[in-house]
Amino acid sequence: MNTAATAAPDLGAAMNASIDQAPILHAVDVTKSFTQDGTPTQALKGVSLSVAPGEFVSIVGRSGSGKSTFLSVLSTLLRPDSGQLTYNGFDLTTASEADIDGLRHRDFAVIFQFHYLLPYLTALENTLLPFMRGLKPVSRAQKERARECLERVGLADKGHRLPGQLSGGEQQRVAIARALVKDAQILFADEPTGSLDSATGSTVMELLSQIHKDGLSVVMVTHNEQYASLSDRVVRMADGLVV
């Protein structure tokens, strides 16, 4: 589709979103550096990105260009050194930890290259994990919803299995079900197909674009140009900058 992407608001980008809509997620001039063994690495050198509601953005770039770091900042898993980050106009750089926890719980969903399921919980229980935050027991309705999500990712009959009894693709699909279960507003995915073979990767990608079509905003990091082309807009990164 449109492979020409810049940091500026992209007029041709929004397929599901109208142009005049305020961005759901807005990052301006974000920097982040790491210090390892005394030598500092500037992973992000001032990147900006706006995600419109319902938009599907891909981030591509060479290894080490700062994609994962940027996605972590966007998904609140990592605090930037400087720059601005707002979600629906709400400033995330100054938000309290409790607010961030709430956001992660309600609005944000993250999936990774590796599934990161809890090995001692069944697929269904892993899907229900977002509801197990407190002492309040999981409700019948929530269980029902988790089953629906598992069904959606094609694992209706495997809810009782432990992650170790599932294939890599199935595990990733459980992770997607877990992201779906809580009705998030925006899904972050860091190389969700990275550890899967191409056939399995395709089914996962199909799932993601379906989810996107249902109205979820998606920000995905990928190495795969073909998968990137499924998105509304592709952002290219190189050496800590959007190019």
Binding site: E97, H105, V110, Y116, L118, L121, L135, P137
Partner: protein, 448 residues
């Protein structure tokens, strides 16, 4: 399913580790609990003795040879070298001391060594009314105290033998009642003394029959049953009651009426020693002893309390020793929990990152680890308490230590043990849980 499910499922997955930790803590709890039980029961037994001795004072003639003893009283060589107290005179003198109001019971005793079925046994002449007051822990297993009707439930055979008193005409004895001639109808020597004590509420001792109360061990050794005849001097006694085990020297002797024994052995009005019980705990025992000493020159006056207190001290010492060992076990368990949790936190970094990315707060992550440790402690507390109860039951049975006291199961203590253990293990998990809560989701999750 809630946040605790996560902790419990992980404990179940790592069942070997969980079991090991449980074992260590359970061991610690078992040893502490059973120690507590055993020492409490033993201590209670001793305490009971202490109480039953009360501020007991032993009034005895000075005797040189110390060979046989009963009730802490040295009998000397029974056949040749026994000094006697005059029962009437001694009681009268005790009755006259200034602190008389603090004295509840005066129990004179005459001890006679005799052979029953070829075995040497001590026959102790007592005033049953006083003795019963002194030994509230007495429990008559069969029959009744001489001079008393047996409890209706234990009627079998006892009824006719307690009947030395002429009142029991409803049970005619099969053989003519062996009411022997030597029993004088008058109760003269003590009668006077008791008349003097009567205002203080002392029961009048009117019994002077030939009934004998047999200690449990003596009954077993001599194979004595209710209704058996036991010879004494030219006459004989009739078994009317058998004592339940008391843990005291009473188990090994035969107890008969003092007047009867005095007459049977020709020592009318004599006693070997007198036990004096003070009314109160913490009463001026020293003063009483001093006043008795003044009233009774050339008579030995000892307190029994010292002996028991010494035994209590050794019980406390053993208790402290085992307690410190148990504490070491628990401490070891705590460091095991700490260490294993610490390595678990590193192992589970990614899990923690996932939970945080799903909106679990630091506090929630903390409580998962905390709950895991606490549940181990809780379970160990419950299992350990129950096992400790069983173990102490067995210990007391094997060592025959109970001294009449009994174990009682207390749910509140079970609860307290479980809670304390849970607190202990959660305390041990404090640092690991805090470390887990400090993990940032990005450092745990993002693959470079």
């Amino acid at each position: 399913m809630n946040i605790l499910t996560i902790a419990l499922r992980n404990s179940r997955k790592k069942w070997v580790r969980t079991l090991l930790l449980l074992l260590v803590f359970t061991l610690g709890v078992v040893s502490i609990v059973s120690l507590n039980f055993v020492s409490r029961v033993v201590g209670e037994g001793l305490e009971k003795k202490l109480v039953s001795f009360g501020a007991n004072i032993l009034v005895s003639p000075i005797s040189e040879k110390l060979t046989v003893s009963y009730g802490g009283f040295a009998l000397g060589d029974m056949l040749f070298d026994v000094n006697y107290l005059d029962e009437r005179d001694t009681i009268a003198r005790i009755d006259a001391i200034a602190l008389r109001k603090n004295i509840s019971v005066i129990a004179p005793k005459l001890v006679v060594m005799d052979r029953v079925q070829g075995m040497a046994v001590a026959i102790v002449g007592v005033r049953f009314a006083q003795e019963k007051q002194l030994k509230s822990y007495w429990d008559v297993a069969q029959g009744a105290l001489p001079g008393e009707e047996p409890a209706p439930a234990k009627k079998a055979g006892g009824g006719m033998h307690a009947a030395s008193t002429p009142a029991s005409a409803h049970t005619p004895p099969p053989t003519p009642a062996p009411t022997p001639a030597p029993i004088p109808a008058e109760t003269s020597p003590t009668g006077l003394a008791q008349a003097a004590m009567a205002p203080l509420g002392l029961p009048k001792d009117t019994y002077s029959g030939n009934g004998v109360l047999v200690g449990s061990a003596a009954a077993a050794k001599l194979n004595l049953k209710l209704g058996d005849k036991v010879p004494l001097g030219k006459t004989h006694m009739l078994v009317t009651g058998i004592l339940a085990p008391t843990g005291s020297e009473d188990d090994n002797v035969l107890l008969a009426d003092l007047t009867f024994v005095q007459n049977a052995v020709g020592r009318t009005g004599k006693a070997n020693f007198l036990e004096v019980a003070a009314l109160c705990s913490g009463c001026p025992i020293e003063d009483i002893v001093n006043q008795l000493g003044a009233a009774l020159p050339n008579v030995e006056i000892k307190t029994l309390r010292n002996i028991v207190e010494q035994r209590m001290y050794s019980v406390h010492f053993v208790k402290r020793l085992i307690l410190s060992v148990s504490l070491v076990i628990l401490l070891t368990g705590c460091s095991m929990v700490g260490i294993s949790m610490l390595s678990a936190v590193n192992e589970r970094k990614k899990e923690i990152g996932i939970l945080r990315s799903l909106g679990f707060s630091r506090r929630a992550v903390f409580s998962i680890f905390f709950a895991e440790a606490a549940s181990i402690g809780l379970l160990a507390g419950v299992v350990g308490y129950l096992a400790g109860f069983a173990v102490s039951f067995r210990i007391l049975q094997v060592l025959e230590l109970s001294e009449g006291a009994t174990l009682s199961f207390e749910p509140l203590h079970l609860l307290a043990t479980a809670v304390i253990l849970a607190l202990l293990t959660s305390l041990a998990s404090l640092v690991p849980a805090w470390k887990a809560a400090a993990i940032e989701p990005s450092e745990a999750l993002v693959t470079l």
